[in-house]
Symmetry: C2
Subunit: 429 residues, 2 copies
């Protein structure tokens, strides 16, 4: 008999089925036992005669196989239940579970949860996070594929960094020194210039940052895009609005079950996301919140306050900050006058979830800007040579997948939105 998954039991009412999964709960009465079975699709109550198996040996989370008859049920878990004919152990739990996972709420600290990831993910409030994350990544890809973007796969082992600074992981590549890519920046620009014009990548990026905060991962998934023949960065912000709307719509259509489990209402984007110049944001923070320690960049408190301001004054949970200072942006960013750039961040509920902007496409300007940033053009020759042979005007952006997941789902620590996070001290599991 073929296995039926729990969500499909409604197609087998009053018929025999084979179901398989994990023992989620057991309640033993005098002559019968109520056993809740869990598979990837849901939970169902199974009613078995105590003579069928020694339920003392039936530990929670053991993997079992049950054949029985589907009947309608009044229990609130599932409108059906299974009257068990036969029950078999497939793989028994060998030791006491290190965490209790069969409660409504998983009441353990973050480290314990991550140390026991395989068990904690069996809790529906944890697995639902990744079901939503799936819809985000797939929504991003779907929207871009519909809009004529080409997916790219670019190397993560690189000879030089794109974002400057020293925060790169170094490795030995046979006789050479190499690094893990901080971003696919150079490569996505090169792929625009190679004629694809519109490219995207959903892939890992690496930041060897020393600090250990609730917003940082040392390895995370970046949803990157780059697009040629744009006039200005406004087009990029418009594009990101469309992408976010598409993703939100997809989650509402396909992820309602998981939103309900997490008790989450998604944000809405009804009109355009407000766009505020960086220097005006600094001014607002100074005047309204007496924040005088900001210059060049917002700190986490500044990000929270400007989002609070925009929500209260403009009724939106998102805000684009634009015209970032030139000295704070990487060398590939298109300058605007001497001080500013054609770049932006998207903040959402107090956190930066996107950095983007127009890039330099003129070779001489690029070389000059590399020098302006105190870097040596010769080190970037593989990248800069591209600009000698017909690079169109272009720009792009990157969205952090785990951060966006967190902000949609009101998760406080980005590690919760990563199945196996890598941080300053965590390298396992």
């Amino acid at each position: 008999m073929n296995r039926v998954i729990i969500t499909n039991l409604n197609k087998h009412i009053n018929k025999g089925v084979l179901i398989q999964g994990w023992v989620c709960r057991i309640r033993k009465l005098k002559s019968i036992t109520f056993l809740i079975l869990r598979d990837r699709s849901g939970l169902v109550q199974c009613v078995l005669d105590n003579a069928l198996i020694d339920t003392n040996n039936l530990r929670l989370e053991s993997v079992i196989s049950i054949s029985g008859k589907v009947t309608e049920s009044k229990n609130k878990l599932n409108p059906f239940e299974v009257i068990v004919d036969n029950i078999e152990m497939i793989n028994a739990v060998l030791e006491e579970l290190p965490i209790e996972i069969n409660k409504d709420k998983l009441d353990i600290n973050l480290d314990t949860m991550l140390n026991n990831r395989v068990l904690s993910l069996r809790h529906e409030k944890k697995s639902s996070i990744f079901k939503i994350q799936n819809l985000i990544a797939q929504g991003f890809r779907e929207f871009l594929i519909k809009n004529d973007f080409t997916e790219i796969f670019t190397p993560k082992i690189v000879a030089e960094g794109a974002e400057g600074g020293t925060e790169m992981f170094q490795l030995k590549y046979f006789e050479n020194k190499a690094y893990l890519a901080q971003s696919p920046q150079f490569y996505k620009q090169m792929m625009v210039g190679s004629g694809f014009e519109r490219v995207f990548e959903v892939g890992a990026v690496y930041r060897a940052e020393e600090h250990n905060t609730n917003r940082h991962l040392n390895e995370y998934i970046s949803m990157d895009l780059e697009i040629g023949f744009i006039e200005n960065e406004e087009e990029l912000m418009n594009l990101e609005e469309e992408i976010l709307k598409y993703i939100l719509e997809k989650i509402l259509n396909q992820g309602k079950k998981y939103l309900d489990i997490l008790d989450i209402s998604l944000p809405t984007i009804e009109k355009n996301i407000p766009r505020i110049k960086f220097k005006d944001a600094i001014e607002i923070l100074r005047k309204k919140y007496n924040k005088t320690d900001l210059e060049g960049d917002l700190n986490p408190e500044g990000e929270k306050l400007i989002c609070k301001y925009v929500k209260e004054e403009l009724g939106c949970e998102f805000v684009f900050l634009t015209h970032y200072p030139r000295r704070k942006r990487p060398m590939y960013t298109m300058p605007l006058g001497n001080e500013e750039t054609h770049s932006f961040d998207l903040l959402f509920r107090g956190l930066e979830i996107t950095t983007g902007g127009k890039r330099i496409h003129d070779y001489d300007m690029l070389i000059e800007n590399i020098k302006y940033k105190g870097l040596i053009p010769e080190n970037y020759k593989n990248y800069t040579d591209t600009f000698k042979y017909g690079m169109p005007p272009h720009g792009g952006l990157a969205i952090g997948l785990e951060r966006l997941t967190c902000q949609f789902l009101n998760i406080k620590n980005v590690r919760e939105a990563c199945a196996f996070p890598r941080d300053r001290t965590r390298l396992t599991p």
Copy 2:
């Protein structure tokens, strides 16, 4: 005026349009010039009065903007052409092109092609490879999403290797030593055990292999899947047949243009792919081709010959080799008796494109098999602990994206199916 892409010119017959792209060819006559413009969608002939611009300054591959009127045309490039009103330089080519890319066939060696990747990819015979590759990766994901798989993103910085051996890139992870993952093997198994049951990942894997062959990349894209509650590896082979059929169908439907450019007929999978036991394959090679040097594994010549045999005798370009020897398979492979395993390879046109099999799900058997392979169970504790707490029977497979692309498209060197390959000596661009 908004830019129109070349493929959409048919919607603007006898109207004014703005088109932008690269100068692909120029033919100057006495009073007019024929200029072929290329954008991401195709090529179009533009007819301009020589008075409009000094065409001597119009180098091939410069990025230009043209406004003009669309008219029907008899040239075979495109049923339309553009009569130019105005032409503007957007970004001029600064130096002589290092390679000639505007011929029907790109006549350069592999290294030159890869060193000048941004230019060589502008040739439609090169870009088409990646358009087909897109359809392969997207087909793989689409099929699995339709079949209730969850996409996973697993860490590539890991504390231990899954495949054994010493072929791992090592890096310094703050105070610790870490490695780049050879495969997502442990993590995909753990995600099956965490209740998702069916998972997949399309992501980079790393092999620090010293040899430099036309079949190997040191960083490549692995299309991985893992599935719980299977009975045997036959189910995995059936699943792979369905996946390959889906991908081939998708390419035929959406990639015909690129197949025509590459002059390729795709293989067909009309009936089941033949399944031959590994030891029987060795016997066939010995008897029929007098290959006596094979034991434990096929060498590249053996792979080619067994594919030749299957094609001639059984009329199929694919063949599953099954029951691989236990001593040649990684420690997580389910043994079959003392000598064999529940595992398989898929060979296609003389090359291995998939390795897969049933995995061990019993904790004690796993520990024993780790020892059998001469490894130390304690080193794998993060992985093996998973098996104490209810791991279902499961198995999976991995398809190398670049290799599959090559074999579909009759490409001889896997580097051609990777935009920016990493091999023994190549770390740039």
